[in-house]
Amino acid sequence: MRRVNVAMLAEGIAFAMLGAILLVLSVTGTYMYYVTPRTLPYLYFASAMLLVLGVFALLRMFEQAHIKPYSHLMVLLVPIVLLGWSAVDTGILDRLLTPPSITSDSEDLMVAGGGAYTMKAALYQDTQIHGYDPVHRRIVIPEEETYLWLVEIYENPETFLGFTITTMGQVMKDEAYFTEGTFSPVRQLMTCCTADLYPIGFKCEYGDVDSLIADQWVRVTGTLTIKTLSQTSELRILADTVEEVSPAREPYVYAY
């Protein structure tokens, strides 16, 4: 029987494991916990390359070698271990193991929302976004379209003044950014990866901001208005209701 070169076998398995992990993240969409949808084709490419290297190593596993290094496998094992740990910590593993169900408040928002709206903002012209109800002058912002609605409303505020806006996010009321009686329900915007997360959301006026806890998930409903300040003016939602909700299904929103 041919003897197996254990070092080469270990290398082949490590390459194949990492390639398979990237493939699973890509196919299931869970890669979006770390990087944006724009990265998807590159991830497929990386997964294919790693699998090819895995096959190449496995084909050589009967090739005898005297020097059998292992320390170089750290290059593969560190990401494998961290991705495994992170999959448990972030809930990716649960999501992979349990079938999706429509229970999130964001899905409720989607169901409750009105029809489609065609964007006019320069960069996203003709993009369809949802939750628009012109008859009742109401917008129920679906969670994954938070960024696009923000862009559209900030670029064309006059179109939406007086509309009732419903949006969700995590409470941000840091004193460095918010004056008394104001806060934002923010979503984390990812432009490239988790290293560049940035909070985005409408500034809201609310009478009982003190009762809100930082980072708690809330759904805000209120009227869009322009607040004139001493030197400038800014868009705000005059919040009528702020209710606690379960966390959004997707952890982040994406610029493109």
Binding site: M1, Y42, F45, Q64, A65, H66, H72, L76, A176, A195
Partner: protein, 515 residues
């Protein structure tokens, strides 16, 4: 019964390297009473004499592995030696020796101890760099390299170079009998030490984060996000680099590449413009271009320009700044100007930028041999190069990301409290942040815009032009095989040039034009 099996010491080296002499010298130091069998696969310049059991095998190439194994096994069974010394033919690939010695019939009667490469020190590294060199194949499979005719300084240089080619090898001077005896007797602990060091560093980093009250799950998430963003581009860069290394000859590059300085730099810019790659990918490609003889100023221009001016970066800048084409244009033009000036700083560089002569010319994968002694096919060379380079730079990528993650967690990106710095202060601050945060060039536009919201646009432009060219991650990536001198020079020159270019542009009205 493993304890009673004789140990094999296999000695490799080119013709006239001194293999027989080395074996003879070692035999004189073997304790009395030990029976030694010497199997010589080639005729040495000196004959083995005395009480030693001696089997010459001259007709290796005409015999099958099975026949050779049977001959050796029969000799071992018949003579019952304590130690077996094998002098391998310098014209045959070591892979065949390893295949023979790992044959089940031989493993039953003896065990492989050390493989020793005996070599002349003068011109050794240059010989390793010669494409098709058997020396490299021998080196990749040996435990100990015994070097002749070198002084201490030369030995240090060789040790440093070898450690980058084959981490397990111990280089010893021919005269150092004590160390030779010591190494032949004890197992190599390099591997364990290296693994332990990496593990300790990881634990220390986690401990440091914990002590600083920084969320470890968030740190891991940031680390993985950056890694997942970088690894496809690194693989793409390594693939391009491998294709260049294996399929494009240095002659072709020299023929096609413009001979004059300006033409070469324009070629570098054009190449950067065409390649949708981020900074992680441009470094391996840069390295391959220099290895293939592209002039350093042109290659530096390519490396610094590509991450700033490629289409993906332009598009992401366009989106980040709300469709402001002036910002995109300013970033591209200032990036090109800075890259050309940075390239010019390397016109007079004559010394190698690589840590050893070997890196400057060739690579181990191109000297891969099958057991038949034929060079591997181009496809195998391509995959081997790809694999070797991934392992070589992959560890530096991990280290770079770990360091930049640490800075991101410690520093954050909130600079709103520092809005009174003025143009110079804010530019310096933003450029240092770009260096430390090591963001991907395809995403830094949004971060730069938001982070520098309270600063003059010149500061943001400094971030956008300098960040993709040079950051902590790239510097650590470069340290895989480039000299400290080159790395320090390019880091300082890039910083100063980018600062100067953006500052002058600001004085000339950049801010007004972009407003």
């Amino acid at each position: 019964m493993n304890r009673n099996k004789p140990t094999i010491y296999a000695v490799t080296g080119t013709l006239m390297a001194g293999k027989t002499t080395f074996i003879k010298q070692c035999l004189t130091r073997i304790p009395q009473g030990r029976k030694v069998l010497v199997i010589q696969f080639e005729k040495g310049m000196e004959s083995i004499q005395g009480d030693t059991l001696y089997i010459p095998i001259r007709d290796v190439q005409s015999q099958t592995d099975e026949e050779l194994v049977t001959r050796i096994a029969d000799a071992v069974t018949e003579t019952q030696p304590s130690d077996i010394w094998v002098e391998w033919n310098g014209m045959l690939p070591v892979q065949r020796l390893i295949t023979l010695l790992n044959h089940n019939a031989l493993r039953r009667c003896c065990k492989l101890g050390k493989i020793i490469q005996v070599t002349e020190g003068q011109g050794y590294l240059e010989q390793l760099a010669v494409s098709g060199s058997m020396l490299m194949e021998q080196l990749l499979q040996c435990d100990v390299a015994v070097i002749r005719n070198v002084d201490r300084k030369q030995l240090r240089t060789i040790r440093h170079a070898l450690s980058r080619m084959q981490g397990s090898v111990e280089a010893i001077a021919w005269e150092d009998e004590k160390q030779i005896d010591s190494l032949l007797g004890f197992p190599n602990v390099n591997e364990a030490v290296r693994s332990l060091t990496i593990f300790t560093a990881c634990v220390a980093l986690a401990g440091l984060l914990y002590a600083m009250d920084i969320s470890i799950p968030t740190s891991i998430s940031v680390f993985l996000g950056t890694w997942l963003q970088a690894i496809p581009f690194l693989l793409l860069g390594i693939l391009l680099s491998s294709l260049i290394q294996v399929f494009v000859s240095a002659d072709l590059i020299r023929r096609l590449f413009p001979k004059n300085l300006l033409g070469g730099m324009l070629f570098g810019i054009f190449g950067g413009f065409l390649m949708p790659i981020c900074d992680c990918a441009s470094i391996p490609v840069f390295r391959s271009l220099v290895k293939k003889g592209v002039p350093l100023p042109a290659a530096v221009t390519f490396m610094t320009a590509a991450p700033v001016i490629n289409p993906v970066v332009m598009l992401s800048t366009y989106y980040a700044f709300g469709g402001n084409t002036k910002v995109v244009l300013a970033r591209v033009v200032l990036g090109i100007i800075a890259s050309v000036i940075i390239g010019l700083f390397f016109v007079r560089t004559r010394t190698s930028i690589f840590t050893n002569q070997y890196s400057a010319v060739a690579c181990a994968c191109c000297q891969t041999f099958g057991s038949e002694g034929k060079p591997a096919s181009k496809l195998v060379q391509l995959v081997s190069h790809f694999r070797n380079e991934l392992f070589e730079v992959g560890k530096y990528l991990l280290m770079g990301i770990a360091v930049s993650t640490f800075f991101q967690m410690v520093l954050g990106s909130d600079l709103t409290q520092m809005n009174a710095l003025g143009l110079v202060g804010s530019m310096l601050l933003m450029m240092v942040m770009a260096l430390l945060l090591s963001l991907c060039s395809s995403s830094d536009a949004v971060v730069g815009k938001n982070m520098g919201a309270s600063f003059p646009i010149g500061a943001v432009m400094g971030f956008l032009v300098f960040g993709p060219m040079m950051d902590i991650k790239n510097l650590i990536l470069m340290s895989a095989n480039m000299t400290k001198r080159f790395i320090v020079k390019i880091a300082v020159v890039s910083f100063v040039v980018c600062f100067a270019v953006v500052y002058v542009a600001s004085l000339l009205g950049l801010e007004v034009w972009l407003a």
